[in-house]
Symmetry: C2
Subunit: 252 residues, 2 copies
């Protein structure tokens, strides 16, 4: 059996999820906390790799003894969150811990993941959303949200999303199935929500940049299917900044 952690983190001060030399990472902090708590070196396997500045409202990671497929501990699972948090910095928090089988894989066993991308839409910046949303100063009205939403609907379904992958990335298959995609506005906050069985590198950020190009009238909603089928990164919009992106839900 291994322990599956459900956690959240504010990405601002992390150089992303994955361990790197000489950089502060979420995985690095989890590694150090698990070693302190369980008393030996552990492997931490995450459900995803998020980039520098990207946040997670929900993230799952399995803890195993280093080099093994299991974890040994006398600490009961309901005590693990508070015990881990005592060893973790304030910008990461473990919400839940549960035993899962040795064969469980936090990344490969994901049924679908949901991301949200937040835009703060108002002329003056907001000190409370700095680093937590993309600040867009020109007004995006209800009619424009409706157009962005029409564009987003074209993402839904099973497609080759190469046009929405950072150039230079290599991956076995660029086909992904988007389950739903939606743009909503509440007050000054615009949220793009999208779920898929998997995401290519920078896919949500390029989708967001493309929806913003739709808002600016540079791309028409009806062009999205052509952009997808072109498989040409140049046809899609810019890569939206990392700070607005949140891994929001992981479903097994």
């Amino acid at each position: 059996m291994k322990i599956l952690l459900t956690l959240s983190y504010l990405g601002t001060d992390f150089s992303g999820y994955q361990v790197q030399k000489n950089a502060r990472t979420v995985q690095g902090e989890l590694n150090a906390a698990a070693r302190s708590l369980f008393g030996y070196d552990c492997d931490i396997t995450g459900c995803s790799r998020t980039d520098a500045g990207v946040h997670a409202n929900m993230f799952c990671a399995a803890v195993t003894k280093k080099g093994e497929s299991y974890l040994e501990t006398h600490i009961s699972e309901d005590k693990i969150p508070a015990a881990m948090n005592a060893h973790l910095p304030a910008d990461v928090s473990v919400e839940r811990a549960e035993w899962v089988s040795d064969g469980f894989h936090p990344r490969y066993d994901v049924k679908f993941k949901e991301y949200i991308y937040k835009i703060y839409n108002r002329p003056a910046r907001n000190p409370f959303t700095e680093g937590r949303a993309w600040h867009i100063t020109y007004a995006i009205d209800e009619g424009t949200i409706e157009r962005m939403n029409r564009a987003a609907q074209h993402f839904v379904g099973k497609h080759d999303f190469s046009a929405f992958m950072a150039s230079g990335s290599t991956v076995e298959s660029t086909i992904r199935e988007v389950k739903y995609a939606e743009v909503t506005k509440k007050g000054d906050e615009i949220v793009f929500k999208v779920a898929a069985d998997g995401f290519l590198y920078n896919m949500v950020r390029i989708m967001t940049g493309t929806l913003v190009a739709v808002a600016q009238g540079k791309i028409a909603p009806e062009e999205i299917p052509c952009i997808i089928s072109s498989c040409d990164r140049q046809r899609a919009g810019m890569t939206a900044p990392a700070e607005g992106l949140y891994l929001n839900r992981v479903v097994y």
Copy 2:
């Protein structure tokens, strides 16, 4: 004529609003920005003095030429917010600027101010509310919110609030009129909202600490009138931490 700025700030990295030697303050940042923008030394007069770590969703401050009761500039008022923000750090933002008469005083002319105090109520901490809410781990249920609310209603009206003032403070009168007070819970967030014609030093934080004592069953809602009339700081609850407090609205 002087310029009245409406602004907001994240208090986390400030040693409070008011200028101090060798400390980063909101007033200090506004001073430096105004000097850069208008080209001469200015006086900045705020509507209030907030402590280190306290936030403002809305704060008002008047800008005048140093030692004078007026400001001279050719910059139009609708251009001032963006121009000020270009000179200000990311954790403070000017939302609006308007001309007001020489006689206008941002502090003395306030009709009432509204504060909110945020509590994050869940066992595990939340990386997104760290420094922005008081984390209380034990569950505060709907029945308890109702009791806190009953207690809060006793604050409403014109009272001598000495029991809710930091000991050692000196002030001409300790009588204040609370217009409304309310405790609500939405998901994991509990909000105490209170408005008055003025507030004594630490008044909202002591009120919050008292409401939390009510939640813990240490103080009964019916005891609040006795605590108020005792004028005894020892009878009220603890001073809640600064991080949950927000100046939320200023009405002239």
